[in-house]
C-alpha cells in the first residue's frame, strides 16, 4: 500500500457498537464511513409521549425503525408464519440507536458469564459454551466504556461485583423512595443491595450537565443530554478527528466480496432510496444481532452460497434475548415518589450464579416508572381489566405499586434463529429477517426462581398483595437485548467470528455488536456490547495501522 493512501473502513450501524468502533478507528487515522439507516435523534420530536416511545410503541416508535417499511416474519413452533408490519423488537434506528432511549443500566458481566460451560457443564439441548475470552480479557474494555461513555455507580463492598475495587468515574445516583425502602429490606435479608450503575451523568461529566431526574427517562431521549450514548460521546469525537463521515438515512443491504476471503465494499440505499456502492479496506458490522445476521445471510455469492460466514450454518443461530421476570407488589402506602425519576436505583446480583440448581440466574432491580397507560395492564391476576373498578384502581394504586424485575440469563439453543424470509421484502425490496424457535425448558424454571426471589423480598417488605411474573416460554424474539447470532469462538465449525470479532474465512470483515455474545448473561447487555466494540475496534486499529 502506498504511503499516501489512507486506510478506509466502513462501519454499518451507529449504535452502541458501531459508534465506538468508528471512534477507535477514526482516532487511529483510519478514514471511516459510519452508516446509519436512521436519522440524528431529537428529543423535541417526541416530547414526553408515552404512546410513541421505544418502550410503549402503540402509536409508533420515537426513533424508528418504521415498522411499515421494515416488516418481520415470525415463525411459530408449529411452523405458522406471521408477517408483522410494526417494530417488533424495540430496537431503535438513529445515530446512537438504543443508547439514545435506553434505561442506561451499565452492568458488567461476571467472570462466570464468560465460562458458562466450564462452570455448569454441558446442558442437554443447549449450545451453552464458554466465550473465547475471559472476563479479564474484557475488563480493560469495560474500563474504557465506563470512562468514555460515562457511568455513575458504586460497587464497593459488593462481593460478587468483579469491579468492586475499581471505582466508576461518577458517584452513584441517590436511591429513589422505592429504592431506599427496598434497599433496607434487602440488607435485613442479608442480601447485597447497591445503587444500579447508570450510563447517566450523576454530576456534570465529559462536557455535559448532570441528570435532572426526569420522571420518564427510558424510552425517550434526554431533554438535557445527560444520558450518555454513543451519539453524544464517541461519535462526536470520531467526527472531530476529520476522519469519520456519518451517512444517515443510508441502509446497507449487501456486502461485496472478492471471492478470495476479502470483503471489498457494501451496497446501500442512500437517503433518496438510490442504490449505491462504497468500497473500503475494512468492514465492520454493528447493525444489531438481527440486522447483522440478516445482512450476512443476504450477502450470497459463489464463495458463500448461504451467506457470508455461514458455510457451517451458524449465522443467525443461538439467538437469545432476555426473559424479563420478577414480581409486582401492592403496598398500603405510596412507595413511589413521582417528583423525581426515573426510579430504577436499587440492584442486587445475589441471584446471578452460585444459586443451587440454577444455571446462570439474573439480577433484580426496582423498575423504571411505568407511564399511566402502561400501568393500565398492571393488575393482580383476576382483577377487572376495565370499568369502574379498573379506573379506581388506577388512581388509588399507581403510586403504591412496586416492581422488582430483572433479565434471566437464557440458555441458548441451536434452533432459536434468525433466517431470511425470501418472499417477504422490505420497502427497498430486500428480503427481511424471520425469527423462529423458542426457549430452552430451563428458561421457564429460571424465571420461576428469580420471580420467587423478588416475591420473597416483597413479602419481607410487607406488601399487601404480590403477584409474580412468568416468562421464559414462547417464541424467541430477541427483543431489545437480542444477541448471539454471530457468536465468537476459537473453533470455526461452531462459531462465526474469532475472539476479535473477525468473521472466520474473512480477512477484513468484522462484527462488533450483540451478535458476538456467546451467552447473554443475566444482565442488561449494553455495557458488554460497548466493551466488545472497544476490543474489536482497538484490535483493528492496532492490526491495520
Amino acid at each position: 500500500m502506498g504511503k499516501n493512501k489512507y486506510i478506509t473502513a466502513i462501519v454499518v450501524g451507529a449504535g452502541a457498537g458501531g459508534g465506538i468502533v468508528a471512534k477507535e478507528l477514526a482516532t487511529s487515522n483510519i478514514k471511516v464511513t459510519l452508516f446509519e439507516r436512521g436519522d440524528w435523534p431529537s428529543y423535541d420530536k417526541h416530547f414526553n409521549d408515552e404512546l410513541i416511545s421505544q418502550r410503549v410503541q402503540d402509536l409508533g416508535t420515537s426513533f424508528g425503525p418504521d415498522g411499515k417499511k421494515n416488516p418481520r416474519v415470525l415463525i411459530s413452533p408449529d411452523g405458522k408464519r406471521n408477517t408483522v408490519y410494526r417494530a417488533v423488537n424495540h430496537i431503535a434506528a438513529c445515530v446512537g440507536s438504543g443508547t439514545v432511549s435506553y434505561g442506561a443500566m451499565a452492568w458488567r458481566f461476571m467472570p462466570e458469564d464468560f465460562k458458562m460451560k466450564s462452570t455448569y457443564g454441558a446442558v442437554e439441548g443447549s449450545t451453552l459454551d464458554d466465550w473465547p475470552i475471559s472476563y479479564e480479557d474484557l475488563a480493560p474494555s469495560y474500563d474504557k466504556a465506563e470512562r468514555e461513555i460515562g457511568v455513575a455507580g458504586d460497587m464497593s463492598g459488593i462481593p460478587f461485583a468483579p469491579n468492586k475495587d475499581n471505582p466508576y468515574p461518577m458517584p452513584p445516583f441517590e436511591y429513589s423512595r422505592e429504592g431506599e425502602f427496598l434497599k433496607n429490606v434487602c440488607q435485613n435479608m442479608e442480601l447485597h443491595p447497591f445503587p444500579v450503575p447508570m450510563l447517566r451523568n450523576s454530576v456534570p461529566y465529559n462536557g455535559r450537565g448532570a441528570c435532572i431526574r426526569n420522571r420518564y427517562c427510558v424510552g425517550t431521549a434526554c431533554p438535557v443530554n445527560a444520558k450518555n450514548g454513543t451519539q453524544n460521546t464517541v461519535i462526536p469525537v470520531a467526527m472531530q478527528t476529520g476522519n469519520c463521515e456519518v451517512k444517515t438515512n443510508c441502509f446497507v443491504y449487501k456486502i461485496h466480496t472478492d471471492g478470495k476471503g476479502k470483503a471489498t465494499g457494501v451496497a446501500y440505499f442512500d437517503e433518496n432510496n438510490k442504490s449505491k456502492t462504497l468500497e473500503a479496506d475494512i468492514i465492520v458490522l454493528s447493525a444489531s444481532a438481527h440486522e447483522t445476521a440478516r445482512l450476512l445471510l443476504n450477502s450470497k455469492s459463489v464463495e458463500f452460497p448461504n451467506g457470508i460466514g455461514n458455510n457451517n450454518d451458524w449465522v443467525g443461530r443461538n439467538h437469545q434475548g432476555h426473559s424479563y421476570t420478577g414480581a409486582v407488589a401492592l403496598f398500603d402506602f405510596d412507595i413511589l415518589d413521582l417528583t423525581t425519576g426515573p426510579n430504577t436505583t436499587l440492584g442486587i446480583m445475589d441471584y446471578n450464579h452460585h444459586n443451587k440448581g440454577i444455571i446462570g440466574g439474573g439480577l433484580l432491580a426496582n423498575e423504571f416508572f411505568l407511564g399511566p397507560y402502561a400501568f393500565t395492564d398492571q393488575r393482580p391476576p383476576g382483577s377487572p381489566t376495565w370499568g369502574k373498578e379498573h379506573k379506581k384502581y388506577q388512581r388509588e394504586n399507581y403510586q403504591r405499586t412496586g416492581l422488582l424485575v430483572g433479565p434471566i440469563q437464557e440458555i441458548p439453543i441451536f434452533d432459536a434463529r434468525v433466517t431470511i424470509a425470501e418472499d417477504v421484502k422490505d420497502f427497498w425490496g430486500v428480503p427481511v429477517a424471520a425469527f423462529s424457535g423458542g426457549h430452552h425448558p430451563l428458561d421457564k424454571i429460571n424465571c420461576q426462581f428469580l420471580s420467587s426471589k423478588a416475591e420473597e423480598i416483597f413479602i419481607k417488605a410487607g406488601a399487601v398483595k404480590i403477584w409474580r411474573r412468568g416468562g421464559g416460554e414462547g417464541q424467541q424474539g430477541g427483543g431489545q437485548h437480542q444477541g448471539g447470532t454471530c457468536r465468537m469462538g476459537n473453533n470455526p465449525a461452531t462459531s462465526v467470528t474469532d475472539s476479535f470479532g473477525r468473521i472466520h474465512d474473512m480477512e477484513n470483515l468484522y462484527v462488533a455488536d450483540g451478535s458476538l455474545m456467546v451467552t447473554n448473561g443475566g444482565f442488561n447487555p449494553v455495557l458488554t456490547i460497548m466493551a466488545l466494540a472497544f476490543r474489536v475496534g482497538g484490535h483493528i486499529a492496532s492490526k491495520w495501522m
Binding site: F47, N48, D49, E50, L51, D58, L59, G60, C211, I212, R213, N214, R215, P223, V224, L338, T339, T340, G341, G371, P372, Y373, F375, T376, T385, W386, G387, K388, H390, K391, K392, Q394, R395, Y398, Q399
Partner: protein, 183 residues
C-alpha cells in the same frame, strides 16, 4: 359616518370580533363530527368506551375525548382499523336490536356492561359476528380507549390532562421541574 382612520380601526375591530364569535355560535348545540364515524356510530362507540372508563368523581371516556382520539388515530395512523370498528359497531347494534329491540345506546347501564362482558369472552351469538371477531373488536376498543384516556393529550384524548390529574401526577409536565439534590 365619517370615513377616517379612527372609525376604520373601530370597524375592523368590530368585524374581527364577530368573526371570532361566529364559529362559536354556529357549533353550539351541534354534536361533534368525525372523519371515521357517522354521528350514530360515534354515539354507540362512545357508550362502549364509557363502559370501559366510566364517569365517576372524574370524567369518563366520552368527556375526556376518547372517541375523538380513536377517530383521529384511525384517520392518521390506522386506516385499516376503520372496517373493524364499523363492523363491530354494526354487530353490537344488530345483536341489541334482535334481543332488546333497541340500539346499544338505549340499553340500561347494567345491560350494556353485561353485553360487553359476554363480548369480551367471545360468547355473544356468532350470527351477528360473521365479519368481525367480537373478541378482537373488544380488545381493540379497550386498548384504544385506555390509550385515549391515559395517553398524552395531543393525540386527541385525555382532555385537560384529566387522567394525569386523577392519578395525582403534576401536569402540565415541565422537563427539569423535577426536584433533585433535596433531602
Amino acid at each position: 359616518m365619517k370615513y377616517n382612520r379612527r372609525n376604520f380601526i373601530k370597524q375592523c375591530i368590530a368585524l374581527y370580533g364577530s368573526t371570532l364569535l361566529l364559529p362559536a355560535c354556529s357549533t353550539r348545540g351541534k354534536t361533534q363530527t368525525y372523519r371515521s364515524f357517522s354521528p350514530l356510530q360515534a354515539d354507540c362507540l362512545g357508550a362502549i368506551c364509557e363502559q370501559i372508563i366510566p364517569t365517576d368523581e372524574y370524567p369518563g371516556a366520552i368527556d375526556s375525548g376518547v372517541v375523538n382520539y380513536i377517530d383521529r388515530q384511525i384517520y392518521i395512523r390506522f386506516p385499516e382499523l376503520k372496517e373493524l370498528y364499523h363492523e363491530g359497531i354494526q354487530a353490537v347494534n344488530s345483536y341489541c336490536t334482535s334481543v332488546y329491540n333497541k340500539e346499544f345506546t338505549a340499553l340500561s347501564w347494567d345491560d350494556q356492561t353485561q353485553l360487553l362482558l359476554t363480548m369480551e369472552k367471545g360468547e355473544l351469538p356468532e350470527e351477528h359476528w360473521e365479519k368481525a371477531s367480537q373478541r378482537e373488536f373488544f380488545r381493540i376498543v379497550r386498548r384504544n380507549t385506555m390509550q385515549g384516556f391515559y395517553g398524552a393529550p395531543h393525540h386527541g384524548g385525555n382532555k385537560d390532562y384529566i387522567s394525569y390529574r386523577m392519578m395525582n401526577l403534576n401536569y402540565p409536565f415541565i422537563a427539569g421541574q423535577n426536584r433533585y439534590g433535596e433531602k
